[in-house]
């Protein structure tokens, strides 16, 4: 690879090259790899797969999580599709995830562009921009809830800006914007780091060649940078969408599903539901949610196949 790659990205860059040579060299896998794999696989199966399978089984019962229960077939699933609350939660969650993915990726990419160019105090700036990622989601949510409920309205009153004077969190039509904002605020650093890694893999010679051919910075961006970091964009979008579908802690801190049930996400419905003893029904909801998430991920991967070396 190019000599301009930084040491921190060498792991990302050389891993694909290394696995190719290993599988080409050896046809038999060293049993040591199985030993390394086994503990993680065992824990994952016990802690994630087994409960998921149990949950799937329970979704055909009327269990409340403990005690006696009976099998009731697909009644829970029928009820899920007729439940107005569940359907509106899906609508809100999907719309929210879509908007947040776009916002996060756009801003993260621009920030990454800025932080890989020759600005001063690059290292310090990168540290500053990474800070939102290390603070816990619920803490961020409560702090922003205070800002939106108290500080911003006070500012709006003082400056005479009428729309700002009422808390955005109390508006059923606009509260979701606040949630998008706070989620983006927390998620942009990790997306930005991935984009920085991607931008640093673009060899400098390519830019030199294009400048010889008289390309403008806009041309560089559109025809060189974007295609070459497309793979990283795919990673960000697939992972990001999955994460935003599961949004929970930020909503709890900001609006608690309110005002009314305007910002109740699917994860919230599931969790609050089985806290209230509605265990089997919410397991059915969770199964449906799982299937929808898989379908969305498959659609994403299908659309982006071939557009980036990493996802193909």
């Amino acid at each position: 690879m190019s000599s301009t790659t930084k040491p921190s990205t060498r792991a990302v860059v050389t891993a694909p090259a290394a696995t190719q040579s290993i599988s080409a060299r050896k046809s038999r896998i060293d049993p040591l790899y199985y030993f390394f794999l086994f503990p993680a696989l065992a824990i994952f199966t016990l802690a994630v797969t087994l409960p998921a399978v149990l949950g799937f089984v329970y979704s055909f019962t009327n269990s409340i999580g403990f005690g006696d229960f009976q099998f009731i077939g697909i009644r829970n699933f029928i009820a899920v599709f007729q439940d107005e609350g569940v359907l509106s939660a899906y609508g809100f969650t999907l719309g929210f995830a879509l908007v947040t993915v776009i916002v996060v990726n756009a801003v993260a990419f621009l920030l990454a562009l800025g932080l890989t160019s020759r600005v001063r105090f690059r290292a310090a700036l990168r540290t500053v921009f990474v800070i939102p990622m290390v603070v816990s989601g619920i803490v961020i949510a409560f702090v922003f809830q205070y800002l939106f409920s108290n500080s911003l309205p006070l500012l709006g009153e003082g400056m005479g800006i009428e729309p700002l004077a009422t808390s955005i969190l109390a508006n059923p039509d606009l509260a979701w914007l606040a949630i998008v904002f706070v989620t983006a605020w927390q998620s942009i650093p990790s997306a930005m780091l991935i984009y920085i890694a991607g931008l640093l893999t673009v060899p400098a010679e390519v830019y030199e060649a294009s400048s010889i051919d008289g390309a403008t910075p806009w041309h560089n961006l559109r025809h060189i940078t974007l295609p070459l970091v497309a793979g990283y964009a795919v990673i960000n979008m697939v992972l990001g969408f999955k994460n935003y579908l599961n949004t929970y802690d930020i909503i709890v801190g900001l609006t608690d599903g309110g005002p009314g049930v305007a910002t109740r996400s699917v994860a919230m419905s599931i969790f609050r539901g089985f806290e209230g003893g509605d265990y089997a029904y919410q397991m059915a909801n969770a199964v449906v949610f799982f299937l929808i998430s898989i379908v969305i991920a498959l659609i994403q991967l299908r659309f982006t196949r071939g557009k980036g070396g990493i996802a193909a």
Partner: protein, 425 residues
């Protein structure tokens, strides 16, 4: 620095050093598994935040006063999970509500009727536990402390405006109008926290007009057939109280939708509003502001007949021992200790609760003393919002009604949720 990899003479090799360190750490870890002490432990679960230090002291005193059992005060266990694992706490001291009733209904709580403490409870208070579905033939819980809640009002503001405590709906509206005209916020709303709407505005308005117990009994019978044509339903029975609730919100502070429980307590402590729809637990919070404010309570009048006045109660603390508890004897001994009149009465005096036993003394705190006569005469009800399972986000629905959503369609949605819940039960 770590020792060298292999030993060369007198030095300790790295392997030996690491093996020894690993062995020592394992020994420390395993030491924690050894049985602690000679007395069996009674796990006592009590999580009401304001009362935690109080009960922690009681547990310590009991452990020191005898040598048969040791009481461990636990606050953090997730109860549902512990029941699923068949390792619940030995003695529970918790709010008695629909979620707890679920445990009782399935026979998870042992029968306490043979204890002398059970016989000392007032009949109408013990009957409150029957409002929820019960396990027949058992005394599964012993009520320990009842909280009575009604409208908190600022006595000085009422005096300064020449107002008397209203006893009918029309008088209440008049009081609000007078206050509004004088530029004082009649009612302080904290609508950012949905539970304050459910336990305050909704429960008080419904409880003053609807027979809560009969309503839910019929709702359980009707089950999945609840709708606009059923005998009772949210959209039919609750429509009038909810409409009046919305009418009351014309008298609240304009920023209520972005104010929470804490803001409400601070505002009342500073005398910024005349009335506050909260329970006695708020008094402790209001006290913390350290202001000199004179508060009292009166039941919310919803009809034109003062005889309909009732206060909202809930069994704030109740004692229970699970069937599968390990230390049954120790748990019952501690239960008896807690039920001693000196201990129970001093708890209720300090935390503004009403005693549950037949010879419980009358409350003396001026803030809640006005509710004593209603409690004595049995003129109380349990809050309607406390009978709706958590899977129906009732508090959020009330929040949207207050925020402007159509009351009838929201109540219709609650009926649909109830029917769906009954369908798959």
């Amino acid at each position: 620095m770590l020792p060298p990899l292999t030993s060369n003479g007198t030095g300790v090799s790295r392997r030996t050093f690491l093996a020894a360190a690993g062995g020592a750490l394992t020994a420390f870890g395993l030491a924690g598994c050894a049985p602690g002490g000679t007395r069996p432990t009674v796990t006592f679960h009590q999580s009401k935040p304001e009362a935690v230090p109080y009960f922690r002291d009681l547990a310590a005193k009991f452990s020191a006063s005898q040598d048969r059992v040791r009481v461990l005060h636990d606050m953090a266990t997730n109860l549902s999970a512990s029941f699923v694992r068949s390792s619940p706490p030995d003695l529970g001291c918790l709010n008695y509500n629909l979620e707890m009733a679920r445990f009782m209904e399935r026979g998870a709580l042992s029968d306490l009727s043979d204890l002398p403490a059970a016989a000392s409870i007032r009949d109408d208070v013990l009957d409150l536990t029957n409002w929820y579905p019960t396990y027949a033939g058992r005394t599964s819980v012993i009520p320990y402390s009842v909280m009575a809640a009604s409208v908190i009002y600022n006595r000085r503001i009422f005096e300064q405006n020449g107002l008397a405590v209203p006893t009918t709906w029309d008088e209440l509206i008049e009081v609000c109008e007078v206050l509004k005209a004088a530029g004082i916020t009649p009612i302080y709303g904290t609508f950012r926290d949905p539970w304050t709407i459910a336990q305050g505005l909704f429960d008080y308005t419904v409880g003053g007009m609807v027979n809560v117990r009969d309503f839910y009994k019929k709702m359980h019978e009707i089950g999945e057939n609840v709708g606009p044509d059923s005998e009772v339903s949210f959209q039919k029975t609750m429509l009038e109280p909810v409409k009046r609730m919305v009418q009351l919100t014309t008298y609240i502070n304009p920023d209520a939708s972005s104010r929470g429980y804490g803001d409400g307590n601070t505002a009342m402590a500073q005398g910024q509003a005349a009335m506050y729809f909260q329970g006695p637990w708020a008094f402790g919070e209001i006290e913390k502001a350290g202001t000199d404010v004179d508060l009292g309570t009166f039941p919310l009048p919803m009809t034109s007949d003062p005889a309909d006045l009732k206060v909202r109660v809930n069994i704030d603390l109740s004692l229970w021992v699970p069937e599968v508890a390990n230390a049954q004897e120790g748990a019952r001994a501690f239960l008896q200790y807690l039920m001693q009149p000196e201990i129970q009465n001093s708890y209720n005096a300090e935390f503004l609760g009403f005693g549950t036993s037949k010879d419980a003394p009358a409350v003396t705190d001026p803030r809640i003393v006005e509710m004593q006569k209603y409690y004595d005469q049995g003129r109380f009800y349990m809050g309607a919002s406390q009978f709706i399972p958590n899977s129906i986000p009732a508090a959020n629905y009330f929040q949207s009604i207050i925020g402007g959503a159509d009351a009838e369609s929201t109540l219709r949605r609650m009926d649909a949720d109830w029917a769906r819940l009954a369908f798959r039960a």
